[in-house]
Each structure stands twice: as structure tokens, then as C-alpha cells.
């Protein structure tokens, strides 16, 4: 098992290498440079800046420099915020982004799985229709629409909750719900389908033939097996929540790192863009690894083979 984890972990390195290489090449293919401003900047000044930051070097050389710095834990300078390093920018906002992502993740799991189980147990009766209805709403409402509607309703009209910012638990509620609504819908659908699948399994009939109480059949035999396929989508879900919160961050004015990603592309802020990409790619790859390991703990068939 440990060897398997180690091998999988090492595999992340080439993945990150390829991801960073592709991003780096694409980024430098974008016409224009980081120094373009509304007012024209003198060519001599641009040349001086390029020289200072090594941007006059060939792109492969720049990439090697970037990798070397990365290995030393240095993400390089920001060309947009010249008084801050990329390390500063990332460390300033990453925990906010992670906190938002994790809260949305736990909300999705805490709502989605029970909702899916309830739907399956009440198959083709009102609990099923209610849970399915909620998940359909979650799928049909993009997070940015939900965010706008909730700000309007709870922030502006009812004045129950703040419309933005990140200053305490009351400011966390709306962004978390907005971010979690789609994953809730997806997890509900998956759990329901998986439960319905398990309900038809022979071993459930075996459990019933033993006279096991209905509740124990559901908890011991159904849910445990039904959750195995659901776990496979939890990794991508968490990755999606941590890396995909930039729209919610900008709607609610949350000081995370997500919003820097889009601005960095437009502003040719290479350092920030590369840092975000590599960070997000690592999060996705790492979480997929975590899921596979978790999988092995729930499913004994994998653990032993």
C-alpha cells in the first residue's frame, strides 16, 4: 500500500511538469507583454524592465529559470504588483480560498449524500421527487446566478446577511451555499443512482433473508457499498471547489487567490499565472490520489490486491 501511494505521488511530478510546460508555452504565445499600460511606455524602459526580469532571454531559458526558482520555493516576482512577490500574493489569499472550498465541500457532502440516500429509499415516492427536484434546481442554476439571487434576497431585500466581504461566519454563509449548490446536486444524483444499483444486489437479498432489521440492511449493507462509487467523484469535486471559486470570490469580494488567475492572464502577469496553474494542478492531482487511497480503505477488494 505504501509503495502504491509513493508511486502515485511520484507520478504527480511528471504531470505537473507537463502542465507547467504547456501553460508556460501558451502564456508566452499571448501577444503583448506585461508592461503594456494605458499610456504608451517608452521602448527603452520596456527593454530595461525585460532585462531586469530576464524576459529578454529565450523562452526555454526563462522556463528553466522558473523551474529552478520553483524548486527553491520561489515563485518569482509579480509584474503587476511590483512591490509584492508571487509568494506573498499566494500566501496572502490561499487560505481564504481553501477555507471557502473546504466549507463548500463539507456542505455538499453533508447535504448531498443524505439527500441521495433518502431519494433512493423512497424511490418513486415523494422523498425521491423532493430530493430529485432539489438536485435539478442545483443543476439548472449556475453558481453566479444563485449568488446574485441570494445577495438580492438575503443581503439587499431582507438585510439578513452581508452582501460581501470575508470578515466572519455571517459573511461565509452565502458564498459557501452558492459554491456548493452544484456539487450538492451532483453528489445527490450519484448517491441516489448508486443506492438504487445496490438495492438490486444479491447480497442485499441475502441480508434480508437473514432477518436483519431494515435499518441495519440500509446502514451496514447498502450505504457502505453505495458510497464506493460516490467517493470517486469527491476528489474531482473538492478540486473543482478549491480551484473553481474565482467567480464566487469576485462576486462576493472575497480576498482569495482565485480572482488573481483571470486578471493575471489579461495582464501578462506570468509569475502569478504559472503559480496558480501549478498550484491548482497539484491540488487536483493530489486530491485524486487521496481519493484512490480512501477508496482502498473502504473497498477491501482493492486493499488486498
Amino acid at each position: 500500500m505504501i509503495r502504491y501511494i509513493a508511486r502515485r505521488f511520484l507520478w504527480i511530478i511528471p504531470v505537473l511538469f507537463v502542465v507547467s510546460l504547456i501553460t508556460f508555452s501558451l502564456m508566452h504565445a499571448v501577444p503583448g507583454g506585461p508592461w503594456a499600460r494605458e499610456k504608451a511606455v517608452p521602448a527603452s524602459m520596456i527593454a530595461r524592465l525585460n532585462e531586469k526580469y530576464g524576459l529578454d532571454q529565450p523562452v526555454p531559458v526563462q522556463y528553466v529559470t522558473w523551474v529552478t526558482n520553483l524548486l527553491q520555493g520561489n515563485l518569482g516576482p509579480s509584474y503587476k504588483f511590483q512591490d509584492r512577490s508571487v509568494n506573498d500574493i499566494v500566501s496572502g489569499g490561499i487560505w481564504t480560498t481553501v477555507q471557502l472550498g473546504l466549507m463548500a465541500f463539507f456542505l455538499s457532502v453533508a447535504v448531498g449524500i443524505p439527500l441521495g440516500v433518502i431519494a433512493a429509499l423512497g424511490h418513486n415516492r415523494w422523498p425521491d421527487y423532493a430530493a430529485t427536484g432539489i438536485s435539478v434546481l442545483g443543476i439548472a442554476t449556475p453558481s453566479f446566478v444563485l449568488a446574485i439571487l441570494m445577495i438580492l434576497l438575503f443581503g439587499v431585500t431582507l438585510k439578513l446577511l452581508p452582501t460581501g466581504g470575508w470578515k466572519g461566519p455571517d459573511t461565509w454563509i452565502l458564498p459557501t451555499i452558492a459554491l456548493a449548490s452544484f456539487p450538492i446536486a451532483i453528489i445527490t444524483r450519484y448517491t441516489r443512482a448508486s443506492m438504487l444499483e445496490v438495492t438490486r444486489k444479491d447480497y442485499i437479498r441475502t441480508a434480508q433473508s437473514k432477518g436483519v432489521a431494515d435499518r441495519a440492511v440500509v446502514t451496514r449493507h447498502m450505504i457502505r457499498n453505495a458510497l464506493i462509487p460516490v467517493i470517486t467523484i469527491l476528489g474531482p469535486t473538492l478540486a473543482f471547489l478549491v480551484t473553481g471559486s474565482f467567480i464566487i470570490e469576485s462576486i462576493f469580494g472575497i480576498p482569495g487567490i482565485g480572482r488573481y488567475y483571470i486578471t493575471s492572464i489579461g495582464q501578462h502577469d506570468y509569475g502569478v499565472l504559472m503559480a496558480m496553474t501549478i498550484l491548482y494542478a497539484f491540488v487536483v492531482a493530489f486530491l485524486n490520489l487521496v481519493v484512490d487511497v480512501l477508496y482502498a480503505f473502504i473497498d477491501p477488494r482493492i486493499r488486498y490486491s
Binding site: 438490486r200 444486489k201 444479491d202 447480497y203 437479498r205 441475502t206 441480508a207 434480508q208 433473508s209 437473514k210 432477518g211 436483519v212 432489521a213 431494515d214 435499518r215 441495519a216 446502514t219 451496514r220 449493507h221 457502505r224 457499498n225 464506493i228 473502504i298 473497498d299 477491501p300 477488494r301 488486498y304
Partner: protein, 369 residues
């Protein structure tokens, strides 16, 4: 979680592992007692006019239609027929495990040890299942929960019904495992089903069925999914253990050879109906229904001429939606006459014994002597 049932406080739970007949009697649930124990039943199981239908989008499938039979105490009864003839649904109906929806027992009565099974509350029914009625399913690969240890899965019924302590449950589990022939039983308790071979898993399944000393075991094609060599071992195991414990067995199979070797009496089912019933000898010596001939005929025999085609019954069983009033076997029967297509025959006696058949041709006034 559900260690002790209300009907038996943990205090008077027997701590001995091997249960005497008295213990078993004492362990019977109040509900079972309420529902009619004390009435001395003639047979352990009396099925009368059982009809189980499946309500599908394409129509009502009459999977089991007006089926009646008895299983005596300690007797082994065979239920033989092609797949889809309703024999599995019959067994599931007895344990009330027919998936609902789409299935429903629409008519009939099932008396188990004098108790009307169909009138029991779901809760009381649960107390009967696993305790008085054990089940062995066809496919040991899919019938065991892949994520629970076999120790847990065997102990589950014991914990549920017998109210034994954890330790006594484990001891009983180990004993059951060694009884069904699993070596190093104690070490294997913590193993998962996938760590066992198919034959070993079916032994585990038998241990589960026997775990609470049931009066009746419903064995639904217990060897179909196994290798031929393993089949014989499993059948022998079922036979030995059922005679040792005096357990009655309803042996469901499509294999007449198995029925001949194991059963006292045999019911032949076709298209949801019992078409012939009798002792093993009667059925094999003098079958009185063309379908039974077909079944006997399709057994490969040692004296088969090499190169001969394996004999089969031509055609497929009918789909059981709105069956016409006709012998259900007539489309495949080479002896069929007009009467077979116009009216369904009754199950009537052949000779003076309990040998019965459902066939116009072998009635006294029929055209086959």
C-alpha cells in the same frame, strides 16, 4: 447495533454454543408463538394456491400461478424446471422476499409450521427469516456482501435472533465454519468474501443459512454457479447437515440428476404451474407429462452415441402475460391435440398414490397410455 431482540432479554440467553432442541424452542419469538404455535401442523410447510405476479410496464407477469405443495418435517423436496418457470419466485414468496415493486403475492396461503406466513407483520416475518427459514442462493460470488468480513456476515443472523454474547457468537461462527468444511476457521473470520473460492463462498452461504438452526432451508440452485467437482461436495454437505439437524430442504434446481440424488419427492414446474409431482421413483420410473419426459430426455447419458446431438426441448417457455386457457406446454409438445389448445388440464392423480400430473394426454381417457 441490534444485538438483542425484545423477545429475549440478554439475561436468559443461552451461553452454550451448541443449541439443544429446547433452546431453539425457547428462542422462538413471541410473535411466532402468537401467530399459531401449538397448533400441531401436519407438514412443516403447506403452500396453497400461491400466485405471485410481477407488475411490469409491459403487463402483469404471472410468474407463479396457483401453486400448492407440502414439505414435511425433515423432508427434502425438489422443485425442478427450466429457468424462468417460477421456482425461484416460489421460494422467494415463502420467505416473503419477492421484490415489491414490481412483484406481489396476490393469492394463496403459506403455512409454515402452522403459522400463516402471509398474515405476519413485516417485523414478525423478519423474526422468522434467518431463524426458522434459512436461504442458500444461487450465486455465491454476488450473494455475499463484498465489504464485510465473512465472520460478520455469518454472525449477523446469530446476533439478530439468538441474543448471544459477542464471544458466544464468535465461537458459534467458528464452529459453523468448521462444520461446513472451511479449514482454519478461526483465522478466516476476518477475511472478506473475495478471498474465498466460489465453492468456499457457497460453504459460507450454507453456514449463514444454518446459523440459527432453521427448520427449513430454501436452497435456490445452490450449485449452478459452481464447478462440477465442487457441486458434488456442496450437495453432500447440504445433505449431511440437513439430516444431522433434521432440517427440511426445498431444493430448487433445473438439474434432474441433483433432484434424483437428493430429494424424497419432486415437483416439476413449468411456466408458473406445477405440472407433475410425485416421489423421485415415480417421476423417474414413470413420468406422466411430456415436459417431464423432455427434462429426463435432455439429461446426457453414459450410453449416448458419440456424435449424437444433445437432446433438448425445442422452443422456449412462454412469456407469462395474460396466458390463454390452454396447456402452457402445448406449443412445444409433440403430442398436443386440440383439447390442449382449448382448455388447461387440472393437476390430477395418476395411479392410486400421490403421483399427480397436469396433462390431457395421460389422463385415464387420454391418448397416451
Amino acid at each position: 447495533m441490534v444485538s438483542a431482540e425484545e423477545d429475549m432479554s440478554a439475561a436468559d440467553a443461552p451461553t452454550i454454543v451448541e443449541l439443544s432442541a429446547d433452546d431453539v424452542l425457547r428462542a422462538r419469538t413471541e410473535a411466532v408463538a402468537k401467530a399459531g404455535i401449538g397448533r400441531k401442523a401436519e407438514h412443516l410447510l403447506e403452500v396453497r394456491g400461491l400466485s405471485t405476479h410481477f407488475f411490469t410496464p409491459d403487463g402483469v407477469v404471472q410468474a407463479v400461478d396457483d401453486v400448492s405443495f407440502d414439505v414435511g418435517y425433515g423432508e427434502t423436496l425438489g422443485l425442478v424446471g427450466e429457468s424462468g418457470c417460477g421456482k425461484s419466485v416460489t421460494a422467494l414468496s415463502i420467505a416473503r422476499l419477492v421484490p415489491d415493486p414490481p412483484g406481489k403475492i396476490v393469492k394463496g396461503s403459506i403455512l409454515f409450521d402452522g403459522i400463516d406466513v402471509l398474515k405476519l407483520s413485516p417485523d414478525d416475518m423478519r423474526k422468522l427469516r434467518g431463524k426458522e427459514i434459512g436461504f442458500i442462493f444461487q450465486d455465491p460470488l454476488t450473494s455475499l456482501n463484498p465489504t464485510l468480513t465473512i465472520g460478520y456476515q455469518i454472525g449477523e443472523a446469530i446476533r439478530q435472533h439468538m441474543g448471544l454474547s459477542e464471544k458466544a457468537t464468535e465461537e458459534r461462527t467458528i464452529e459453523l465454519l468448521s462444520k461446513v468444511g472451511i479449514p482454519r476457521a478461526k483465522e478466516r473470520l476476518k477475511d472478506y468474501p473475495f478471498q474465498f473460492s466460489g465453492g468456499m463462498r457457497q460453504r459460507v452461504m450454507i453456514a449463514i443459512a444454518l446459523s440459527c438452526d432453521p427448520k427449513l432451508i430454501l436452497a435456490d440452485e445452490p450449485t449452478t454457479a459452481l464447478d462440477v467437482t465442487i457441486q458434488a461436495q456442496i450437495l453432500e454437505l447440504i445433505q449431511t447437515l440437513s439430516s444431522e439437524f433434521g432440517t427440511a430442504v426445498l431444493m430448487i434446481t433445473h438439474d434432474l440428476g441433483i433432484a434424483a440424488g437428493m430429494c424424497d419427492r419432486v415437483n416439476v414446474m413449468y411456466a408458473g404451474r406445477i405440472v407433475e409431482t410425485g416421489t423421485v421413483d415415480e417421476l423417474f420410473e414413470e413420468p406422466r407429462m411430456p415436459y417431464s419426459w423432455g427434462l429426463l430426455d435432455s439429461l446426457p447419458r453414459i450410453d449416448d452415441v458419440r456424435g449424437d446431438r444433445l437432446r433438448t426441448i425445442e422452443g422456449l417457455p412462454p412469456v407469462l402475460i395474460r396466458p390463454a386457457d390452454a396447456c402452457r406446454f402445448n406449443p412445444r409438445c409433440r403430442y398436443a391435440r386440440d383439447v390442449c389448445r382449448e382448455k388447461e388440464p387440472e393437476l390430477t392423480r395418476r395411479g392410486g398414490t400421490d403421483h399427480m400430473a397436469r396433462c390431457w394426454a395421460t389422463e385415464p381417457e387420454g391418448w397416451i397410455a
